[in-house]
Subunit: 389 residues, 2 copies
């Protein structure tokens, strides 16, 4: 168990009245806001109008940057920074899922410096200070609404990489589960996998974490596994949408991972898939995770699979640990590919082995390895990619 | 499930190096601190020296108020306010358990106004604004290190009552589990009961809470039930002390109770016991809780006892709900009075029925009832007190 500093000051308005607070909260920071969003679906479902109404009523002038894409591009970030500097904007409100929020984090930091924002990645420059960022979440998945980090893609270099700083953690987030009613089946499934994967990445940790936090991670996993399929079947089930939404924030805001070194494994492998093939992040995670588990499950690692199996998947505690681990993988396959109705193989989504060598090396980064729960070399990663075909 | 605002910005340094940060954190707020503490045991175990050393090294001048008693008195609060005003002090560091921290919350608010601090209670005046409060926790129990509220006693009127405001929530808390190694067996047991009781008060709620938060409360309960007895047997078991400490904060900081109306029941009954007889709060809770459960368990309430039994006490899920409830009460009796070695009856600690009428009325307050999970009249409360004899 490691020493840690807990420091998660994000304020959250949660519930179907969350947007009622956006005007007064924004006004605490500035009278000029950059509103960032994606493809414009927020204009169909009334969110855009509501946000504008509330901001105007509070005397906040709104500038806009729309068109932020999934797997957001550094180009959008540059454009946002340009507007912020030109209009002397004081804060950002990101309306969307992880992509819009992540891109906005890079804008928030980039607005305060004179260099190109890709240097936050390429030269590891600190994302501090940053403009205040507020978020309106429209999809439960990345947890970006309550964490420090963001992922950004550079299409010129085929790189999808992450950075972050406590200064880019949202100051206030507005979480209204009804705003996710229109998220379609596929995106709901992918979001569910993303949340679950964040918990896995923290749960399968290098150091022993605190008992209390392991149990809380199991609570979050149970929640996601229960409500993911319900939200798929009943998109307007408030209870399901609310539980998924709040679980998405707590899976990754830093609370559950505080006491242990969690060195992520499946995410870096997936980031190469979406960087090279622009697939949905959650789908990539679903295909990779059970194969990764198969690859690393052994006598030495089985204890963690055993806890997961007994405490989350309700598997008989009297079974052998390795046996429980195998059942966990079976149940997870069923969950991803039957309950959540996702494609189970890379081939089915048009990906072959042609770039596995290149992707494996990139996934292992400058260190030449993934230092996760079990350390992986590029050859290991390639083998896992191959298992996904 | 209710709408809610989540707003818990307390920063926590957790671990055996937590006090290393106290100088730099304090200096962010002020260069003149009031250090509040209790009976002086912090001078025996080195905490006092360490805190002073760190504060002085950071250029913070320290004034002191010692002698804050368990079930803290309004007199100590008045004295603290006098010193703060006289010396123009900018922040408070409370070193101790809930009593010292609670009293310091009243000082923090009282220092900003001209009226007597008992009016925060008697006239329900808001405890805002308040001086910044930092805390060094020396006992895991009340959760005051991360919540807004405080309990204060007026011996002249035999009243033990609570108030609080988001402005009195500690800004920074230093949680070093090793500082609780010297907490004796009895106080460790009472602290354990207090933590568990906070979770019960939130778990047995009026509205249905969020599934995720119910499961998290169960995780916290499992943690407390596992580690309470270990800390009793092995006072220097870091894992046990750390889990109890972090659970104490999360039991009551507002996170788990956010989505439901939790109207507390056993605490108001216990507050009359400690107000009239000055007994340890946790002991009173241990004696009252299983009797309260017996009193309110019925066909209508059994579902909550069933969840508790199956998910926390590992009771067979195929049993009848009422049956599970009865086993929960048996197991809780064993936990409090055998594992934690606490006295099980009021008679054993010298309390008889002579003041039950008066206490029952007071416990029901101005409303004439306790609006908890099950509503209780003064007659109900008296009956529960009688079951404790």
């Amino acid at each position: 168990m490691l020493n840690f500093t807990y420091d998660i000051p994000t304020k959250v308005h949660f519930g179907d009245d969350a947007l009622d607070y956006i005007g007064e909260e924004a006004r605490k920071f500035t009278d000029k806001i950059l509103l960032t969003y994606g493809g414009g679906s927020i204009k169909d479902n009334g969110i855009y109008e509501k946000v504008l109404l509330e901001l105007e009523a509070s005397g906040v002038k709104v500038y806009e940057l729309s068109g932020i894409k999934p797997n957001p591009r550094i180009d959008s970030v540059r454009e946002g920074i340009r507007i912020i500097k030109e209009k002397e904007i004081g804060a950002i409100i990101a309306v969307g899922g992880g992509s819009t929020i992540d891109a906005s984090k890079f804008m928030a930091a980039g607005a305060m410096v004179d260099f190109d924002p890709w240097k936050f990645i390429s030269e590891n420059k600190p994302m501090s200070p940053a403009l205040p960022l507020l978020t309106v979440l429209t999809m439960a998945a990345t947890g970006s609404e309550m964490d420090c980090g963001g992922v950004i893609t550079n299409l010129e270099t085929n790189e999808k990489l992450s950075s972050g700083h406590k200064d880019t953690r949202p100051k206030v987030s507005f979480l209204d589960p009804t705003l996710t009613y229109t998220v379609n089946k596929y995106q709901t499934a992918c979001g569910t996998v993303d949340i679950l994967s964040h918990i896995f990445e923290n749960y399968f940790n290098v150091d022993e974490s605190m008992y209390m936090l392991d149990r809380i991670m199991e609570s979050l996993m149970k929640t996601v596994i229960k409500y993911g399929p319900i939200a798929l079947k009943e998109p307007e089930n408030y209870e399901a949408r609310a539980n998924l939404m709040w679980a998405s924030s707590w899976a990754i805001n830093g609370f559950v991972s505080a006491s242990s070194k969690s060195s992520w494994t499946v995410h870096p492998m997936e980031h190469e898939l979406s960087a090279f093939y622009d697939i949905t992040h959650g789908l990539g995670l679903a295909i990779l995770t059970p194969r990764w588990m198969e690859y690393v499950l052994n006598e030495k690692t089985a204890h963690k699979f055993y806890d997961l199996g007994v405490n989350v998947f309700d598997i008989d505690k009297n079974l052998d640990k390795l046996e429980v681990g195998k059942i966990v993988i079976k149940k997870l396959n069923k969950f991803f590919f039957k309950d959540l109705e996702l494609d189970s193989n890379l081939k089915d989504i048009g990906i072959d082995e042609s770039k596995f060598d290149q992707m494996s090396k990139k996934a292992c980064g400058k260190k030449g390895k993934i230092e996760g729960f079990v350390e992986l070399s590029p050859a290991d990663v390639k083998e896992i990619y191959s298992m996904c075909l």
